[in-house]
């Protein structure tokens, strides 16, 4: 740690303080929520009403504007949980455990949404609601990982032990993320390949992919709002015996 500059080290220590997190992030939420509403409003209206229909799939392709952001967040949320797991195991940072506990149900909700919208989209496109395609199966495993982590936390009584067990499961489960990503290349599957890639231009015209980009950004902000609010609540719950939380409870109008 001696190579890390003093300022950075101070920031790192402050970030580890649940109280600092609670007091700092409260004012971010309205701005994040307003930006999310704006992006999702424009992206969704554009995608539903103004983007042209797909030449093969017709108007059912408009499900892409929620399916892709949901699937993206399902995986990003899992990665965030695993990173928090590493931070918890290496630095014993309590805040990381609180974020990890908060992300699990949110990530599970978006994984469910990705599976559900994909299933609905599958009916008009492939003729079936469900098939044991490699992509779909690996995302279903992702949902089970989320549910497993949530169950593990409830099953272990001591919070420190529960946090460590969840961290280990989250880190081991990361192996599923590249499997999800490459499943469409490794196996011959029904699922179409990625819409966006870093190395090449999208195969869609801009009038179709710009609203998708807006919705992906909007869903990200929405996810941030939920995780920040959830973590703030988690901070209060776990620090309820401290002076600053009892004082806050006396003042706050709920």
């Amino acid at each position: 740690m001696k190579y890390i500059p003093d300022g950075l080290r101070r920031l790192w220590h402050r970030m580890g303080s649940p109280r600092w997190f609670y007091e700092t992030t409260g004012s971010w939420v309205p701005w994040l929520a307003a930006s999310a509403a704006l992006l999702l409003g424009v992206g969704t209206v554009w995608g539903l009403a103004y983007a042209p229909p797909d030449y093969l799939q017709g108007d059912s392709f408009r499900i892409i504007y929620i399916h892709v952001p949901a699937a993206y967040l399902a995986q990003a949320g899992y990665m965030l949980m695993a990173v928090c797991g590493v931070v918890l195991l290496v630095w014993r940072m309590k805040l990381a455990d609180m974020v990890m506990a908060t992300v699990a149900p949110v990530g599970a909700a978006f994984t469910f949404l990705a599976l559900a919208t994909g299933s609905i989209w599958g009916k008009p496109t492939w003729g079936t609601y469900w098939i044991w395609d490699a992509r779909i199966t690996s995302v279903l495993i992702l949902l089970f990982l989320y549910l497993g982590i949530m169950g593990l936390r409830r099953a272990i009584e001591r919070p420190e032990a529960a946090g460590r067990a969840c961290a280990i499961l989250a880190i081991v489960g990361v192996i599923n993320i590249p499997i999800i990503k490459y499943s469409v290349d490794w196996w011959m599957t029904l699922h179409q390949p990625a819409t966006f890639s870093v190395t090449s231009a999208p195969a869609m015209p801009p009038v179709m992919w710009i609203p998708l980009l807006l919705n992906v950004l909007g869903f990200n902000l929405l996810f941030a709002v939920s995780v920040i609010q959830g973590t703030r609540t988690e901070v209060l719950l776990r620090e309820r015996r401290t002076r600053w939380v009892t004082d806050l409870c006396r003042q706050e109008r709920a």
């Binding site: 399916h67 949110v106 909700a109 209060l236």
Partner: protein
């Protein structure tokens, strides 16, 4: 605009059922994800306030710290 009338917009070229169910589900999931942490916070604050009020009435302010049950 990709549609000529509101009726056509709702019909989604015959795929209205699939498109609108997907969007309805999304609204439900997003609503849950946004409201759940606020609901938990509200419940926690109400509980704590009740507990603190009772403790204050009994003049046992110092007991607050040790009386909090496990969540």
């Amino acid at each position: 605009m990709s549609f000529d009338s509101f009726g056509e917009f709702l019909a989604m070229g015959g795929h209205g059922f699939y498109v609108w169910w997907s969007y309805l589900l999304t609204v439900a999931v997003v609503g849950f994800v946004l409201i759940w942490p606020l609901w938990r916070r509200r419940r926690f604050l109400a509980e704590q306030r009740g507990r603190l009020r009772r403790a204050d009435a009994l003049g046992q302010q110092a007991e607050v710290e040790s009386n909090a049950p496990e969540a």
